[in-house]
Amino acid sequence: MNEYNLCNERIESFLKRQDILLQISMVIIGGALAFTIINKIADELYIVIPLIPIVLFIHILYYYTIVIANQGYREHLQKRLNEYMNTDNEIKYTSLAKEFLLNKNPMSKINIFLFPSIILFSIIYSLFMSDLNIIVVFGNVLNLIVVIIIIILFAKFTKNLNEKVKKYCG
């Protein structure tokens, strides 16, 4: 039971962390956009703008994989705990979370597109504001490649991660 609670705490702490990160990132990105609109800066400095959401994106995805792995572990613990419970007192939060808070939740699906969209927007913004400066163009090609690689690696790693963890725990 303690282990189950610990697992819950880990997931909840990530969700809180994600909230804070999202708020901070919105402030940083918004601030950077406002600053560059008001102040004239050298064109090459626009390369920094897409880097902010990309770093946050990598950070959030890393914690997201932790949550998915923890979710699998929690499901395994729930199954073990429920073996000792009668049917009326069964713990169902993990199945509920999986069913309604993750896979089938439309907001969760929108979230998947939110960060890549912010990154895409910031890339377009930096290209537009730098008037297609060659260093910014080259930097953004690298950015795009990195984002595509991250998404592919993330999708590959998290595909059935939940089940893999359950299988690993036996």
Binding site: A42, D43, E44, L142
Partner: protein, 223 residues
């Protein structure tokens, strides 16, 4: 198999990291040069003379165009020249193809034309000209330096080296018309004409210098 896949992945990651680092270094160095450029204080006193920097825009001729003159770099290319006392000076290559890296056997030259002759040569080109106020000694120093370069070209014209843009910036910097920077800094920050044109236009707008724009022939796609 798995081990070699891991090694390939790590090499890819390292290449990516080095590329990122390189791009960020180039961006920072270039931004630093340009920011210093934009912050030079123009002291109005004694600036009784002017020199003009002519930016010929890059272009691609349309298929049916009779004026088929092409400049190195195409759409992103063009040329930059400095006008001093009715003479127009420009730095360019001697023969094509140009060297990728600067060599000791220079494939470069400085050209000097009278304004009348030059105007005839570029009558179909799109040109942005910026008149920079300078002091008499600075103008004399610029004239002397350009004439000196006509006899002895100081560097090679190379793809990853000095070209018309960086050379113009470097010459203006050497005589103190714009801020000081090294040859390498001028090559990185002003790699092709648009980069210097944008920075100099901002600088001119901030300091109220005269900017003259001439439109080019219609049958070219102008930058």
């Amino acid at each position: 198999m798995k081990k070699s896949k891991n090694i390939a992945g790590n090499i890819g990651l390292a290449i990516m990291g080095i590329s990122y680092f390189g791009v960020i270094c180039l961006a920072m160095s270039s931004a630093n040069t340009k920011t210093r450029f934009l912050k030079i204080e123009q002291i109005g006193l004694n600036q009784t003379d002017t020199v003009t920097v002519h930016f010929i825009h890059g272009s691609i001729p349309k298929a049916n165009c009779t004026y088929q003159k092409k400049r190195l770099g195409g759409y992103l290319g063009g040329h930059i020249e400095i006008e001093v006392d009715d003479f127009v000076f420009g730095f360019l290559y001697d023969t094509l193809p140009i060297n990728y890296l600067p060599k000791n056997d220079f494939n470069s030259k400085f050209e000097k034309r009278t304004k009348k002759n030059w105007s005839e040569l570029v009558k179909y080109d799109k040109i942005t000209s910026i008149r920079i106020p300078v002091t008499k000694p600075k103008k004399m120093r610029l004239d002397s330096l350009l004439n000196q370069h006509l006899i002895n070209e100081p560097y090679d014209y190379a793809f990853f080296g000095q070209r018309c843009t960086s050379s113009t910036a470097e010459i203006l910097s050497d005589v103190g018309i714009i801020n000081e920077f090294s040859n390498q800094e001028s090559i990185v920050a002003f790699y092709y004409p648009k980069l210097l044109r944008r920075t100099m236009t901002k600088y001119a707008n901030e300091n109220g210098f005269e900017i003259i724009k001439k439109i080019g022939i219609e049958c070219h796609y102008w930058e």
